[in-house]
Symmetry: D2
Subunit: 326 residues, 4 copies
């Protein structure tokens, strides 16, 4: 099944991914990880919930840490362009037989809550509290100097179907991995905001969230984070990297938060705003797809992920397997 | 005069700035500068014309070097989203009483040639020859490792009026400098593609092109270029920098090509895709506006620029002056 | 007068420069500068005195900040190889008719206090309190991430004579600037520890301390410091840079502490351990000597310096002048 | 067995490691690797032999590539301080019953050829042809921008004995790994020139050369090399890294040349000139010893090495094993 043609005129205008709600079992431990170690800035804090933003963001939050009995993912949030887009979004999801709820969310305006066909909880909004710029308050920079949320990567049990659905929403494929034998998609990277991806889907037990990624200025910030984590008790939280992905060309590091939620630290992808940008195809058997420099990813990276609240993941029918570190 | 409200529904969809035609008096000297020193890639070359692209670009060219008797700027090019946008653009410019010509340009599809109200030659297109990706052909990287064209900066004799016109085209102001006394705009930065700017306007004898900017991976590439230029006969072509702009937060270097055309090498601005992004206001009397670290720009930087072919620039009526290096 | 031949068998073995005592008028302000901004680590602190070390140093201090009524330089310290070297040093200085005092210094073993022929206060020691390594305690790194003290640079009223004296002590010239007309030395860089210099002398009203330099990992740390200083009230303390010196090839930044003492932040010189390393000669009229990239230094950089406690500086007879920024 | 006390007054003065002769089976393939990919500069070339230097070196060569039927290591070279040191060296080796030959070597002055007690071929000299500086000829920099040879690392069948011998020569231990159970040395790092090491010894089938290391400016140069190698046919030559060693604190990459000779690319160790520098002890069971960030080295890295011409390596009696990647 080929990559779908880009949908130049989607039913409503998604500007970008916006935020994720992580449900966590030890709020203090999560705060130590995200705030003291990664360097995200606290914008709200109470006994049950911490809101965070990265250094160049002016929206109120990109991560919500919500105290919970079990660790999972509450919702993935996306910002829409203008108020009418919210209504068009409601119409679209209703037309697909998917739930449409208008909910109250602190710090956010009118908010539409729905799920994609596989149950991934999504929320769409236009207005979120806007905060003063801090990107030139250099005394606040610490940790990995996170600049902004970059993308969500999800396990999908049927990547072809997920890509078709998100393509309908206007996400455009920039790169993809094909199983040479079946010709089916094994993974795909899709964007709205002009980078390699806002969302990506990887074959596996799904739906689950594989990771949320943050953009940082340059590879040396990632090296600084590795030095810091490895000498402050977080060495076991380093899962993979540093390295350069063949796909996306990103310099990357994967780390795990205290509940096992995976965070990617990331820089140096490329601009994708051209609507006629040709997707780049990779073979599942090409090891440089994973890591341009040749090192395969560990098994945990292919198998572990965060479940979405209230959704039971199902196995993929596609049995092709990538190369895994022995 | 306040900054205009963003025009969320412009008459046609400009994706991004695309290319500039520099008319140059010594094609070999220009080639040595842009190709051998900066590291741009040749995509076409004949006796009169050289086309160049940067490393992550798949469109045929971002710079055209055209042999000419006198050095000036032939045209600024912009990519539109879809074919109907071209017709809407023609309608828009005709409606403003501006020239509308459909021209033939090598390597480009249907091309609309016009001028803005001050005479700046503009061309719009949807299709340009697409080339295979080279961003992972690391053996080709050299010089400053230019990744993509980033923006045009122009002198304008009436910045308020220029901003109003380009705002009508859908460019959104991200940062601006106001003359505290008159309340008029002294400079403004406006984007389409999600960074701080695709175009900027600065008060002065206009219209003239102040510079074209290229995006590079990180500040060390700029340091490498300084080392290279200063030891290969180009030390006098280094005009300003390195430094960090207060405005845009960019790490910058300004250099001059053999004809005096100014090129900015640039990294580290921020993402601006939110349509409700609040413009940042700077005072003309704030020296950190120019350079966050305090050093004023040299006089040449404020006064010199490239004329557009066939357009006589006129002085600005706004007499406020920035701080200039003694 | 030519550069003297290296003295391969000096009278005693100086390992490296070690520390400087800065007398400061506002200890809290100096602490904010050196500790909170530069990132040096406090190893001793009382009402009158703060001792600091850099991240890879295991000796007790490289800077002593001593409360005083007027800002000047108390002493320059050097580490000797072994105890007999101390006695040989005493013999050498006594033989030259220079003062020899054995003094008590906290945190230091047997300490010889003397002055060079121009009155610069010097102290020599073999043993200083040794502290546990902190170079892998990455949570402590901040500011510019200073790794170690690198060199002292001094104004000298007779550079030829100063170089001759320090050459006798075993310092070896690595680079020098000659006044083309008189053939006299205008400046010279001299090392013991295997880099471009432990001490340097520049023509001018002397003796005065021009600056003390600290070594940092890479140019991005220097850019980080510029961003930090320029947004935390220290923009006026940035004097020159960033840039690359022609001489020494160092990437540099010059800043001033609250009392005006000048600190250089520095990386990337080269290894000079070969005893037959040929000194590199520069002409005073070569602007790339100062800054490889062409920008001249500001007048303050050539004229201002810290006096040594109790020493009246005298003008140089050598009237040749470098190129100064207009 | 404890680490020996530093020998402050060695029998002769070794300045630094100097050069290695690699015997290679395909001179053209080796040239492509060392010159076109790593960026070393050719200083001599004939049908059988290529001499190379790094960018800041002024001695004629740091690597000699010698055409041979089988790949091995011809000799390790060291520079002495002064001519009398050569005679003292001859006396020392003769006194230990080791071979002493005065040989002719192109580009080198009086040269002493000998072997250490395990057969490692060594040569000592004072004078080598000196070449003009190229460290500011930035147009010549390419590949990983190698600045200088940094150290040799060798497998030793009895690390305690090797360390004792090289300690007698004046090499000083900076860091070491002890087998907790037997109390014997498993590895040690020893320097002459003021960094963490000129030579290191690791337990294993020995003597063999584990690797030769080159110093580069910063971690981004290593990332550049990875990008280059992985897209120019050298992906299989990447063996380990990038990472930071716990020991030495170095940012490292290990690659293999076309014959399997291992090269380390390396930056950011620390200054060790203090004669009273306390050696840092690591436990063999501490995985951060190998890689601060936690990733174990691959088996090949622990097992493979280059034999010295004419020397049959023997197994170590010390059976303790490090953690190896599964």
């Amino acid at each position: 099944m080929p990559v779908p043609k880009p949908n130049l005129y989607p039913p409503f205008n998604i500007v970008r991914l916006s935020h994720v709600e992580y449900r966590v079992t030890d709020l203090a431990a999560s705060r130590a990880f995200y705030v003291d170690t990664l360097g995200l800035q606290v914008t709200h804090e109470d006994d049950d919930r911490i809101c965070l933003r990265a250094m160049e963001e002016r929206g109120h939050h990109c991560i919500v840490l919500q105290r919970a009995d079990a660790a999972d993912v509450g919702v993935l949030g996306f910002k829409l362009y203008d108020e009418p887009d919210l209504d068009r979004a409601a119409e679209f999801f209703a037309g697909r037989g998917l739930p449409v709820d208008w909910i109250e969310r602190p710090h956010m305006g009118r908010t539409l809550r729905t799920r994609d066909p596989w149950g991934i909880p999504l929320e769409f909004y236009v207005k979120m509290d806007r905060l003063p710029p801090i990107h030139q308050k250099y005394a606040l920079y610490k940790g990995v100097k996170p600049l902004r949320i970059d993308h969500f990567n999800m396990f999908a049990s049927d990547v072809d179907a997920s890509v078709a659905f998100y393509n309908d929403l206007g996400f455009r494929v920039t790169e993809y991995t094909e199983d040479d034998e079946s010709g089916r998609l094994w993974a795909a990277w899709m964007h709205r905001k002009g980078g390699v991806h806002d969302v990506a889907f990887t074959n596996g037990l799904g739906p689950r969230l594989h990771h949320t990624a943050f953009w940082v200025p340059n590879p040396l910030n990632i090296i600084d984070l590795l030095d810091l984590m490895s000498t402050t008790g977080y060495v076991a939280n380093i899962e993979r990297g540093p390295g350069r992905h063949g796909i996306s060309n990103a310099f990357f590091l994967y780390i795990r938060d205290p509940d096992g939620h995976r965070i990617e630290i990331y820089c140096s992808d490329y601009q994708t705003v051209d609507p006629d940008l040709e997707p780049i195809k990779w073979s599942l058997t090409d090891p440089q797809r994973q890591t341009l420099w040749g090192a395969p990813a560990p098994r945990s990276w292919f198998e572990e992920g965060s479940v979405f609240a209230g959704v039971e993941p199902v196995p993929s029918a596609l049995k092709a397997q990538p190369i895994v570190a022995p």
